[in-house]
Amino acid sequence: MVKEKAIPQLEGRSETALKDLVQLEIRTSTKAAAEAVTANKAKDMYKTMEDIRNFEDNVKRFFAQGLIPGFVHLYAGEEAVATGICAHLTDADYITSTHRGHGHCIAKGGDLNGMMAEIFGKETGLGKGKGGSMHIADVDKGILGANGMVGAGFGLATGAGMKIKYKKEDNVAVCFFGDGASNEGLFHECLNMASIWKLPVIFVCENNFFAESTPQWYASASDTIAERAQAYDMPGVRVDGKDLMAVYEVAGEYIERARKGEGPALIECVTYRNNGHFEGDEQKYKNRKEGFEKTLADTDPLDVFREYAIEHGLLSQEELDEIRAQSEADIEAALDFAKNSPEPRPESLFEDVFAD
């Protein structure tokens, strides 16, 4: 029996109802968030951010030395987003990632050795060297892949959401995407479908203000991405993407909501990338000397969290330093693993096109 709902097509929903959907004020971390998180969770999250930073800084180094083929798109500066979101996810949940995917994959539990080897194009890589940086994936851990096609993740995540709903599971699918991708047609089609079908999909926009060299303030008709949620009848919220605990807190709310079957949400994380679109990008379009760009560029999410952790008694300086050292060691190990791994066998060129 079709539920008797008001037909907004004739009257239109009330302006209050529309307004309530979207919160444009950028959420920051609260004291409450510290009370809701265990010390172990805090350690895990800090380790993840350190891992991402060390991983990316090293990839940058070796790419510059010519040891990594192709292109790399680095996530340094945005660690708090992947980490804060994925901290709520298990292997049974799904993420789709972007061309700037190392951070998401690490945060979702991607094996550091396998990832580094993949980036170096070795047979021991997660993709056996067949995919490279932009196609890192581990489907068993719910990582549906970094993606070289901007916006493709919307489709994959929506499909994962459809599977979850069909199987009546309480898992979620998280779709990471950038300000640029929010102008792809697939963004609109998928937010619409996720909404009409109340899919457990969380759309996480990493608004770092540049799609390659093109600013979001030029390319997007709407000032924010979060406000687009209104058109798709889902909540839209903005959060400080440099603040791990803010991301963690906001993500928790909407992920819980989705798990309960209350539908999708759009979370816009305001952030900034330390590096160019790709390594080699001169970044002429950036203005890090003044205004909001300077503020964002100068804010290091690792420092923000370290301060927060100490201020709220979550972790000590010692613990933080220990985690940093461990992370550096783990990335060193991943680099060794990658450098010492063999290239793929020639026959593997023809393998894995089809499944049996």
């Binding site: 079709v2 067949k130 489709g155 994959l156 499909g159 459809m162 599977k163 479908m193 089809f354």
Partner: protein, 345 residues
């Protein structure tokens, strides 16, 4: 037990049996049930359309609308989602209403489904079957009359099948759904009413295997889809003239059955390919190229291809009749080969 069933009924039956067998088979597409959230239809558990041609009628009411999903007008969206459904364990069968719409959804095949397994080192499986319809002859004009199985078949990592009979329509669809890869299944809109002997039970037709529909010794004609019937007409006529024609229905366009075609050419020494797709970079040119390279010594004359012209499909009935390959065009191309055959006799 076989009985007479038409092409469309065979497809409907295949979907029904596939869904009965495996609860992971989920259908999605535009109007595949039709009339979602219309009160009086929901009360009667009725589907308004069952697909634009009625091919999926009855499946929504039978299996439920969470399993036969009407999508918004979002080809890119729901085809992309279908890839995600497949990657996470379902066996989705999305319908692309007309293959001409592939432009909207091309990345789902080109960038994602065909490549994920390869790029992920074998760790992804995308068991998706895309049903779509093709074919000129319904006065549907340029944007609804194309045949793009060649275009899609040229993408590594995708299988493409084109049934020409009701029997193959059912068997190939069941095989496609069973296949753990992405298969694009092309239905000819003008064949939906075509009747044939179709077994009642569940059965599959092997993907990748062509069918020698008529045996012969003087000339091989390879066809795709409804061109089978053009070739059979040609064969009937030529037989009266003492020319024995072997007709091969390709059935699978990607990967196409090189072995069967080459075995035939070794026997007959002459080859014509009839393909209603436009003439460049298509299945017919691929077949001609491969046979030319692998069976050159067996050929007594040039390989001929009879295709649609290098134009969009026209609307006017007389023009459309000129657009689609027919027996007359085949006779014209065959003349050179037959004259040569007779000269050698």
């Amino acid at each position: 037990m076989t009985r007479s069933l038409n092409f469309m009924g065979a497809i409907n039956e295949a979907l029904d049996q596939a869904m009965e067998k495996d609860e992971n088979v989920v259908l999605l597409g535009e109007d595949i049930a039709g009339g979602r959230e219309v009160n009086h239809l929901e009360e009667q558990n009725e589907d308004a359309w069952g697909g634009v041609f009625g091919v999926t009628k009855g499946l929504g009411p039978k299996y439920g609308l969470d399993r036969v999903i009407d999508t918004p007008l979002s080809e890119m969206g729901y085809m992309g989602a279908a890839v995600g459904m497949a990657a996470t364990g379902l066996r989705p069968v999305p319908e692309l209403m007309f293959n001409d719409f592939i432009g909207f959804a091309f990345d789902s095949l080109l960038g994602q489904a065909s490549k994920m397994r390869y790029m992920f080192g074998g760790k992804a499986t995308i068991p998706m079957t895309v049903r779509t319809n093709h074919g000129a002859g319904a006065s549907a004009a340029a944007q609804h009359s194309g045949s793009y199985y060649g275009l899609i078949g040229s993408i590594p990592g995708i299988k493409v099948v084109v049934p020409a009979t009701a029997y193959d329509a059912k068997g190939l669809l069941l095989a496609s759904i069973e296949d753990n890869n992405t298969v694009v299944y092309f239905e000819d809109k003008t064949l939906y009413g075509l009747k044939g002997e179709v077994p009642e039970e569940y059965y599959t037709v092997e993907i990748g295997k062509a069918n020698v529909v008529r045996e012969g010794t003087d000339l091989t004609i390879v066809t795709i889809g409804k061109m089978l019937y053009v070739a059979l007409e040609v064969a009937e006529t030529l037989e009266k003239d003492g020319v024995s024609v072997e007709v091969i229905d390709l059935r699978t366009v990607a990967p196409w059955d090189q072995e069967t075609v080459i075995e035939s050419v070794k026997k007959t020494h002459r080859l014509i390919v009839i393909d209603e797709a436009n003439p460049h970079n298509n299945t017919a040119t691929d077949i001609a190229s491969v046979v030319g390279q692998k069976a050159f010594d067996y050929l007594d004359g040039p390989i001929k291809t009879v295709c649609a012209p290098n134009t969009p499909a026209p609307f006017a009935a007389n023009l459309e009749a000129l657009y689609i390959p027919n027996a007359e065009k085949v006779f014209k191309e065959a003349a050179e080969l037959i004259d040569d055959l007779k000269a050698r006799a």
